[in-house]
Amino acid sequence: MKKAAEDHIKDKRFELLIDLLLADDRQDISLLKEELLEAKNFKSKVDPFVDAKIEDLRQNFPVYFGDTITETIKVQIKESQDEVVEALYPIMGKLVKKFIASEIAKLFESINNTINEKFSVKSIIKRFFKGKKTNAEDVLQEVFEPVVEELFVIGKESGLLIGSYSRGNIADKDMVSGMLTAIKAFAEDAFSKEGQDLEDIKFETFQLSMMNFKSIYLATATSGVLNAEFKDRLTDSLNNLADTILRNRDYLADESKLNNLLEEVLKDLEQK
């Protein structure tokens, strides 16, 4: 019995010792527990707000930051133009190459079709009797057929539009006639070619031609390749047109009558 009492005392001392030794650690653990619980509570309270904010940002990102990002990109592009060009150049180059290749393929196809047609027995016999044109002219004319896009009858001094025929959609023909007359006058004056008239202005496959008469001039805009034969036919048609107009001055006073005449002349030219 005495031994049991001693053991009890020993145990108590041991527990006391443990308490003394672990007091600080237990305090730290309880603090940690409290902090953890606090964090958990805080998280559960804050999470819904954070989620809502994230969702709002996700949905309205362009509204909140669109302008800033656009401005930043603009500044960035402006400041690094060379880099942008270097980055885009290979892509653009490929696109351009692809476009040119496809256009050349179309051109080849068109030339092949025309050559096949022109060298058919039927066509050779036809040309044998018709004569004149070379094969190259023939093929070129078929591929890049010349077309009169616009025909203007313009007062030589005033630059006022008297009549017109148009395939395109020129917004203000009067203004175009005025400016054309001004350019004509400017070129003639600038190069001091008195008594000489400006006759042609060329833009790659588009050509403006002017035929000058005493009180009027005829301006034509043609597209396609103008071969010698088409030029001859066009010149003849325009000379005849001017002759008709200047012999019958009623045309100069009646725009719709003149416009009908222009349409007829161009139809005849196409059918020849």
Binding site: S158, D172, D174, A182, K184, D189
Partner: protein
């Protein structure tokens, strides 16, 4: 519809292009755009009961040293000479300048217009007008859209004479 070529002439920067812009497009810009010798604009208007299409040639400069092709002046039915009320050099020798325009265009009458009225006070304007010996048809301000329509109406009427 009758179409008439009319001219607007005068020194550089007197507001010819601004008057045309105000009349044709009802716009005004503070930016100075120097025209490349000539610019043609068009506007349809009614004079009494006659509908008339004005082809307005905005011609820069009038003197020989400014190298304006004489052909710009030919075939015109009326002309407006514009000067800047705030710049004396644009209205000195007005008689000589008007005589030159008459000679080049073959016109007997020229509408004389003083522009940029908005840059002067009432007293200054009176002093400028008093210093000019010939008759001024209209005083305008393209900026404030003052008398612009009337100036072009006068020009249109002149073209019908």
């Amino acid at each position: 519809m009758i179409a008439k070529k009319v001219l607007l002439v005068g020194n550089f920067g007197v507001g010819k292009t601004s008057l045309i812009r105000r009349f044709v497009l009802n716009e005004f810009s503070e930016d100075y755009i120097s025209t490349i010798g000539v610019r043609v604009s068009s506007k349809i208007l009614k004079v009494d009961s006659t509908e008339i299409k004005l082809l307005i040639w905005d011609v820069a400069g009038t003197s020989d040293d400014e190298k304006v092709p004489k052909a710009y002046f030919m075939g015109s039915s009326a002309a407006m000479y514009v000067f800047d009320l705030s710049r004396q050099e644009t209205y000195t020798n007005l008689e000589e300048r008007l005589a030159l325009v008459k000679e080049l265009s073959g016109l007997k009458e020229i509408t004389l217009v003083g522009n940029k009225k908005d840059l002067l006070t009432g007293d200054e304007l009176e002093a400028v007008l008093g210093s000019i010996s010939i008759h001024i048809d209209l005083v305008t301000s393209a900026k404030e859209d003052d008398n612009v329509e009337d100036a072009f109406l006068a020009l249109a009427k002149q073209s019908l004479k």
